[in-house]
Amino acid sequence: MSRKISLPLLYVAAYVVVVVLVPLILLFFYSLHASLSPLFLKILAASVEQSFLQGSISTVLSLGIGLFFGMLLILYDGKFKSIILSLLLITYVMPGIIMGLGIISIFGYSSRLWEIIYGNVVYNSPMIAVLAYSTGTSTNLGEIYSARVLGAGDSQVLWKFYFRNSLRGGLLGGILTFILSFEGFSLPLIIGGPSYSTMEVIIYEFKNIVPTFTQFPFSNASLPGILQVLILMVPLYIYLSIRGNSRRNDSGLPLPLKRYSSFALTGLLLFLAFVLTPLFAVFLKYPIWMINLPEIVRRLQLPFSSLLGNTLIFSFVSTFVAFMLSIIITVYRPSTRNQFLILIPLIFSPVTLALSYFLVYGGHVPTAILIILIFTVILIPLNIRMLTQAVDTIPNSETGSSRTLGDSPLSSFFRIQLPRVKWEITTILSLMFITVMGEFSSIVTVYSPSTETITVGIYRLLLLRDLKDTYGLTEIFLIVIFISSYIINRMGKSGSVGQA
């Protein structure tokens, strides 16, 4: 009997081709025309070395700190838990450029490599802590109490059960940390200077500052781009293989190690202080009342409405489009094997993504559309992941019932699944909106004066060495982000915080 090619497979194929294959092929093609002067090779080699160095050191330190505080999160059992979790995740959605500015306001440019590492650790250790916490708490409480009844002490429970289970989450976080630190951009760009440039910074510089003036001007930028994609495929593959679904554990049993709760709280507050210090440093050094908006506008030679309008419009449009596409992909999702294909855009770092899309679509669409396209593609993998996770909490029988009662997959999603995970959806949307508002590395690679956003404005002010206005604009932006984050905290009541 013949089977027709299923429609979902066609959707996935089209998506993969348009979003991934064509840009990748073009990037590869351009990289073949790179002009390999000894100087270029020397700079490239140095950047590869820096990427590995910063990636490894950041991962090791973040893992150590993150796992420890993840355990504290497990031990703490109080009413501030959700607030602490959302505060920890603030750094994760914080734009890198602001983190960099925060660090500079504390340390200046004294010890560049370690400042970059500090920034990476501040960024990633909360994420590792939360991931370790989420897999750790999926420990079956029935198992733990069985062990207790058999005579196990506190340290055994902690070590054999909680730590062992948190290790998986921690490991996932560690791989993510390596990938993110390897392809670090904002921190090395702002703090590092040429000696500490990662591959991502080099790609940006070769495109925007030193394009080769030949028939293929961006070939020298494409080469490190392709190289980075190839290198990062390995950790990404490992990450996707060991990532599974961690279940929440609601057996109704009480948490076993409650007596350490106050100790854990102290530790967590210290951790929060460590993590949020760069942000507060900004406000301490350049108080809010010194913000001079007209001066900022004058230096940038752009009206503030344009800056803000671009930021908001890009964020809204890309969030909406990414969300719609993610719904379609989630609803018609192909088998688990093919899911890997959907997540392939993850191998593109933001700058490489921007570069390859520029190569494909650069002259053919207005820059604004190009930027929206890039933002959308950046958002989709995370969107799919979180949407799938939210939807999977709904019993199969509900979805199955709606289908056997005659409903199509898409309609069934909107009638049955969406109402059931309303809070999760709101959280996802807000998170996406904030993430893309703070997006810097991809847009700075391709922007034009009329499409400048707030993050690019901050960077330009920094380049003009106008520190006062740089921090002024940063603070305006941070206030917007804090407000949005608070809204997320209020809306995201269910437990989907912190899943990888």
Partner: protein, 310 residues
């Protein structure tokens, strides 16, 4: 004129995760028939239902409904009702909306929908619950809502996946008779999957025995229950199995007679509603129950044994 079967399942095979879940499953179903699929947990019962409903696609084989092949048809186009094990009620909607769901999907007029919902709710006796939400209902009420929802769209075939397994025995007894009446009242056929023998005895018109992914017996209820043809069936039906003179025999615990030639030593006697005996014989341990007293002195009779094939 040839009377077409309501459902024909031919040679269905399905591998999941490298394991053969269904092997060459074949059976058919007639109008207004209730077919019980009896099998142990993990034998593939739910998978058969999922295949017929279209939730999973078989690797090989055909499914025909009233002579039309539906093997490749989408789930939502088969007009087959499905009662899931955990009922699958929509928790974000109230009872009325739950029942109305299938009707809304079929784009019926709102007035018509209201009429049908009200009708079926009254006939199931759940009209006073229409504005409640599933979380506010008892187990039995949820069952009725689920049944109402499935039947209101007028399917010609309903699949039921152990729907009564989570209910207490009182409710189970009541609802069994309820379900028994459905084929006649609603003109549907039912495939009912279970591992509960009481369901098989009361509900079924025919019984198919599913063992390790294969249908090993399929036939009229009385025939299957009283005359198992092979060891696996006999086990599933709760028979004692023993070997004598190189042949294999099965005897139901209710058919062992007290007083007979077979020597039996009492290991356990447990008195309950009946007397339950675990005895040791020369062919191995046997379990039987009886109203009468047995102390091991008078022996037992195994004359009601059935000789088994392989």
């Amino acid at each position: 004129m040839v009377r077409l079967d309501k459902l024909n399942v031919q040679g269905i095979c399905k591998k999941i995760g490298g394991v053969d879940i269904l092997k060459d499953v074949t059976f058919s179903l007639r109008d207004k028939e209730i077919k019980i699929i009896l099998g142990a947990s993990g034998s593939g019962k739910t998978s058969i239902l999922n295949t017929i409903a279209g939730i999973i696609k078989p690797d090989a084989g055909k499914i025909l409904k009233k002579g039309m092949e539906i093997t490749d048809l989408d789930v939502n186009r088969r007009n087959i009702g499905f009662l899931f094990q955990d009922l699958g009620l929509f928790y974000s909607m109230n009872v009325a909306e739950n029942i109305a769901y299938g009707l809304r999907v079929r784009n019926l007029d709102l007035k018509e929908i209201n009429r049908k919902v009200n009708d079926i709710a009254r006939s199931f006796g759940i009209a006073e619950h229409l504005s409640k939400f599933p979380s506010q209902l008892s187990g039995g009420e949820k069952q009725l809502v689920s049944l109402a929802r499935t039947l209101v769209t007028g399917p010609d075939l309903v699949l039921m996946d152990e729907p009564l397994s989570s209910l207490d025995s009182f409710l189970r007894n009541s609802l069994r008779w309820y379900i028994k009446d459905i084929p006649r009242k609603f003109d549907v056929s039912i495939i009912y999957v279970t591992h509960d023998l009481a369901d098989a005895e009361i509900l079924g018109d025919t019984i198919a025995i599913l063992h390790e992914g294969r249908i090993i017996e399929d036939g009229k209820k009385e025939e299957i229950l009283n005359h198992p043809k092979n060891t696996a069936t006999a086990r599933i039906l709760g028979y004692n199995i023993y070997e004598k003179d190189g042949k294999t025999y099965a005897i139901h615990p209710s058919k062992v007679l007290i007083g007979g030639p077979t020597v039996a030593k009492v290991i356990y006697l447990e008195r309950g509603i009946k007397n339950n005996y675990l005895v040791d014989t020369s062919f191995g341990k046997l379990y039987f129950f009886s109203d009468q007293e047995f102390n091991g002195q008078t022996g037992i009779s195994l004359e009601n044994s059935i000789e088994l094939g392989a």
